[in-house]
Amino acid sequence: MILANEVTKRYGDAVVVDGLSVTIPKGGITSIIGPNGAGKSTLLSMLARLLKMDGGSVTVGGLDVTATASDVIARRLAILRQDNHLSARLTVRDLVTFGRFPYSRGRPTLDDKAHVERALAYLDLGALADRYLDELSGGQRQRAFVAMVLCQDTDYVLLDEPLNNLDMKHAQSMMKTLRRATRDFGKTVVLVLHDINFASWYSDFVVALKDGRLAAAGTVDEVIREDMLRDIYGMEIQVHAVAGQRIALYYE
């Protein structure tokens, strides 16, 4: 369980996240949705101690993220932000192996290597393992980064817009992989998503933000509703039941 209590972030006079409290349940996929500038990525970064809070507190599985040693957190929670530009030339296997750093401190054991191979296979990267990241397409690179955070083998995995750069096929396969990870290993996956239909289709829990505040939090049935979405996005959005799922139409 991730507990955010009165979390606040300011940049000068602008309050980006404003005394936000939310509980993200353990297990399953939780999506964070909301319009641009709602504070989604900022919140995610603060949950993962990448960004200092100006107020409030966060606990992940009972550990206070600012008070607990960073390497202890690193074995509990992994985060991948968007726009991961690397100037260093690493192979896919190198990168994924660094996911084991919190355990191996740079000296991977046989056990660590087994984890690496499993993560590579899980993201279908076996054939690309010895290629350099700068030789891959954006989508392949994104999969390599996700393999790295999965290899970190944490209970909690936080991903900021993991579907960026992915075409439909790879976006679908990424979401299925993440869902599988929650089912197979009991992981808790928290995503920032722009596409509310991906959020609706795959999420177990949805957190909606608006203007740095919590707009809604609950199951898909509770949040993906016409009145809710109108409030959150400030536009008319129809919600239809398609194949037993709630699909939002917002194209016109």
């Binding site: 690397l86 260093a88 660094f98 750093f101 740079g106």
Partner: protein
Amino acid sequence: MRTLLFAVLVMLVLACVSLLVGVTHMPVWAMLAGSDDGHAARILAISRIPRTLALVLAGASMAIAGLIMQMMIRNRFAEPTTSGTVEAASLGLLIVTIMAPELPVMGKMLVAAAFALAGTLLFVRLLRLVPLRDPLMVPLLGIMLGGVIHAVATFIAYRFDLLQSLLAWTMGDFSGVLRGRYELLWVGGLLAAVAWIAADRFTVAGLGRDFTTNLGLNYKRVLALGLVIVSMVTSAVVVTVGMIPFLGLIVPNVVSLTVGDNMRRAVPWVAVLGAIFVLSCDILGRIIREPYEIPLGTVVGVVGSAMFLWLVLRKRAHAA
């Protein structure tokens, strides 16, 4: 692994050549036969061995300093001569020479290292204030900063009649290396070993602040360790033999093209190729116009700028 051993072999051969090339005639066979009453052995011990060791140590440690810099700044073109580090080190050395000329050379080096660190931190600060879209702007900014610091140093040196010394610090020259005048470079060698031990941390830091924090490492601490190593190595080289331009830029880039940037793999390569590069340039400088010498800095400058241009143009072609 086998190719690395081959590279080490090449380095050893070049080191042997470096032992044998020089103005003073050194009858090797007579020495081995023991029939020259120790003349050749003295040359070896006083001049040739120190010079060769100095070349290997300076070459290896400066190349590694460049590699660390590129990881910490996260830019392929960062190295001590493109980040104000060298200029700051020589400014520090100039000031300590004026204010405390009696200080032992180790102390002078530490002062120079403190200045080098301050200059590099200023550079890091500037990079944060001026977000640059084009990676080539990063070394340009560093060269400009270095230019400003160097101008200040030149002004002070001019006032105190120390322009000669300033030139010596910024222009690598190994002709003055004798026993007792190069040992500080072992500090550089030692720090290169530390860099190898901490290699994984530096690679992680090279992935960026968020990656580093995610993996449970303190980014600032890794950055500080890296920049301290770079500053110490730079000042040790500046104090003893003078700056070797381009070295920290070319060698890590060539290694990156072949074995990548995972520092655990890259460090031995960078060290060995750095030593090979400096040894060859120095041997070249010694034989081109025998019995005179061309300073290493000049030879490296000519060879290095050509290779630098090649790297820049190659990058451009890749980006396009």
